[in-house]
């Protein structure tokens, strides 16, 4: 343990690093909320993420793009603890959270919405919204928070409708609302607008931007649609073959021929 910590403290981090691993480990935080350090995930002989150094500042809205199989969802699941890292460390709010259980990470302020919405179909919208909130709020405060979550998800008037009767877009909104109701500092969204029409995309973009600007929640959003990305984020990180490939403003990254090539499926 101590050996690997020493190693991570001395090793140079990637270009996106805003704070050294040593600073994160000692709790001397600047504005960096999350920092991964040499994160590797192997599934048998396949390396899904390879030596990824990825950082998110407090209150930042960062998009993660890259072709299918680039390791985007794997990276998010490593951050939440759904997957255990094969190598490397994850620092959050000045602490090494690599060995924490997923629920402990959530309790520290990380939340995630999975790619495929899986609301509890037999339960009403209100019953769904209650689930994350009932863990930490009771009585009148609980009811108030549930009302607020439903309103924030744009589902006022649907409280008693079974979640299975909602449209795909509404289910996505409900899921984002449920994740946001935990009042996280960092919210990870895996393809929140996949399969949605233009109006629904705009509604989600507006919701994400509002949560980011008004509530100060930092976001990492995986998305293929670069127009959607441009509408919500200034900075993007491109993953390719499990590695950080490019990082920078969306317009610059979009214009990069190498990025265009990997999106078209050609090797650089």
């Amino acid at each position: 343990m101590s050996e690997s910590e020493t190693e991570s403290e001395s090793r140079p981090l990637g270009p996106n690093v805003r704070q050294t691993a040593a600073e994160m480990a000692t709790g001397d935080r600047t504005d960096t909320l999350l920092q991964t350090d040499g994160l590797v995930k192997r599934f048998g002989g396949f390396t899904a993420t390879d030596d990824v150094d990825f950082g998110v500042a407090a209150g930042e809205l960062r998009c993660l793009i890259g072709p299918n199989g680039a390791g985007k969802s794997t990276l998010l699941k490593l951050i939440t603890g759904t997957y255990e890292a094969s190598e490397g460390h994850i620092y959050y709010d000045g602490h090494d959270i690599t060995d924490l259980e997923p629920h402990e990470r959530v309790q520290r302020g990380i939340s995630m919405k999975f790619q495929v919405p899986s609301v509890y179909g037999d339960l009403s919208v209100r019953e769904n919204a209650r689930l994350p909130i009932q863990r930490f709020a009771d009585g009148a405060e609980r009811n108030e928070r549930v009302d607020r979550a439903i309103e924030a998800a744009g589902l006022t008037g649907y409280e008693h409708v079974d979640a299975s009767a909602l449209s795909h877009g509404q289910q996505q909104q409900l899921e984002i609302g449920m994740a946001a109701s935990l009042e996280p500092d960092l919210l990870l969204l895996d393809e929140p607008v996949a399969g949605l029409d233009v109006a629904e995309r705009e509604a989600i973009a507006e919701r994400v931007t509002r949560l980011n600007e008004e509530e100060g929640i930092a976001f990492v959003v995986i998305e293929h649609d670069t127009d959607f990305v441009a509408s919500i984020a200034d900075e993007v990180t491109v993953l390719h073959n499990g590695e950080v490939f490019r990082e920078g403003p969306i317009e610059e990254v979009k214009a990069d021929p190498a990025v265009q090539r990997i999106y078209l499926g050609e090797e650089e």
Binding site: T80, G81, T82, E101, P102, H103, V106, Q107, S111, M112, K113, F114, S118, Y120, D122, L123, S124, V125, R126, E127, R130, L131, P132, Q134, R135, F136, G139, A140, N143, V146, E151, A153, G154, L155, T156, G157, Y158, E159, H160, V161, S167, G169, Q170, Q173, M178, A179, L182, A199, E200, A203, R207
Partner: protein
């Protein structure tokens, strides 16, 4: 549906108590249901006047085993083939302790020891499974293997070396020396087995009633109500969330491993209680409680009745066991197989939820049940 309404300070005590037993995770949240429930309990209380209470008490005891699987599998999504492990551990623990301490106090302690034994067995097995990362079908396989291992182990305990104090485990011959069930201490105790109580009943004259039947009935009704309160509580909602999607439930900050372990232990203790009553009722226990057939029965009861329904588990256990005992032999096995196959093919959610849905469809819709007919999400979000 009285589900998540804000708590009204003006609610009567009765309404508050009732609200504890109602919610989205149980069928039957209407006045009609509770009237029917009281009628059913009254009918069960009166049943010994007209039916075979001694036989029926077995069905009540086994219903506790069915409930234990319903809460573990139906509500938390852990398909355990090993409920009979904890049932058998409960029964054997009760037998060993009660034979060694055959006083009323000792037998009462043996009942508690049996329940604890079932829960402890579940705690050990569950801890290694859930904290070892075992999920889904592998839990089913491990619990099934645990059943078979215990069957093999208990079957070879015929020798005198397998004696605990004065209690010989007896291998295939089982343990025939279990004392009659008495609860209490010293003079303040009551014998529940083979102790017909004469009672005068209008219209029937003096009849002899079996106190064990009523003990089993009280425990079953109490357990049913207790589990209703549990599954509709915050904890129960988290259990159901685990059943629906473990990873997602973790992302709401719930410790899924602990929830599964706690429910598994509760299920083990309940199965242990069922095993205690089974051994006490039969005044005997042997390794047949660990056979593959017996291990399969709870899965059939709960599948047929409706695994997400506590009531379904009870009704199906009683009905199937009645038919099984009445038919007997291989015909009963064929019937069980056909029933399971038919349920999986045509009523995958079980019979009781299907009947409940039919009943609801035939009822006029309540005026306050639905939200807007065709609401527009973008419009709604503009407020």
């Amino acid at each position: 549906m009285a589900t998540d309404a804000p708590t009204d300070g003006g609610q009567s005590l009765a309404a508050r108590v009732r609200a504890r037993f109602e919610g989205p995770n149980t069928i039957g949240n209407s006045n009609g249901f509770w009237v029917g429930f009281l009628v059913a309990v009254a009918a069960l209380v009166a049943f010994p006047l007209v039916g075979n209470a001694e036989q029926f008490s077995l069905f009540l005891v086994l219903s506790l085993l069915g409930l234990s699987l319903s809460v573990v599998w139906g509500y938390t999504g852990v398909l355990s083939f090993g409920q009979v492990v904890f049932f058998g551990l409960g029964g054997y623990t009760f037998a060993v302790v009660s034979i060694n301490f055959a006083t009323p106090g000792g037998i009462t302690a043996a009942v508690l020891a049996g329940v604890v034994g079932g829960g402890l067995g579940a705690a050990v097995l569950g801890y290694f499974m859930f904290y070892g990362g075992v999920r889904d079908v592998y839990v089913t396989i491990i619990t099934l293997v645990a059943t078979m291992v215990l069957h093999t182990f208990m079957a070879q305990t015929a020798g005198s070396e397998w004696t605990i104090g004065e209690a010989a485990l007896g291998g295939f011959n089982g343990m025939p020396d279990i004392p009659l069930l008495k609860l209490g201490v010293g003079a303040a105790s009551f014998q529940f087995m083979y102790n017909a109580i004469p009672v005068w009943v209008p219209g029937f004259g003096t009849v002899e009633l079996d106190p064990f039947y009523y003990l089993a009935l009280v425990l079953l009704v109490g357990t049913y109500l207790g589990l209703r309160a549990l599954v509709n509580s915050d904890y129960g909602r988290a259990m159901v969330a685990v059943r629906e999607d473990e990873d997602r439930t973790r992302m709401f900050g719930y410790n899924v491993k602990r929830i599964k372990l706690v429910v598994f232990i509760l299920g083990g203790a309940l199965a242990g209680l069922s095993g205690v009553l089974y051994a006490a009722r039969n005044v005997f226990i042997d390794p047949t409680v660990f056979t593959l057939l017996f291990a399969t029965l709870p899965v059939i009861w709960v599948s047929v009745g409706g695994r997400k329904s506590l009531l379904g588990a009870i009704i199906a256990t009683i009905a199937i066991e009645y038919i099984r005992v009445t038919l007997g032999g291989e015909l009963a096995l064929v019937m069980l197989g056909a029933l399971l196959l038919g349920t999986i093919l045509f009523l995958p959610n079980g019979i009781v939820p299907w009947v409940h849905r039919l009943a609801r469809q035939n009822r006029p819709a309540p005026a306050d049940a639905e939200g807007p007919e065709t609401p527009d999400p973008t419009e709604a979000s503009e407020s």
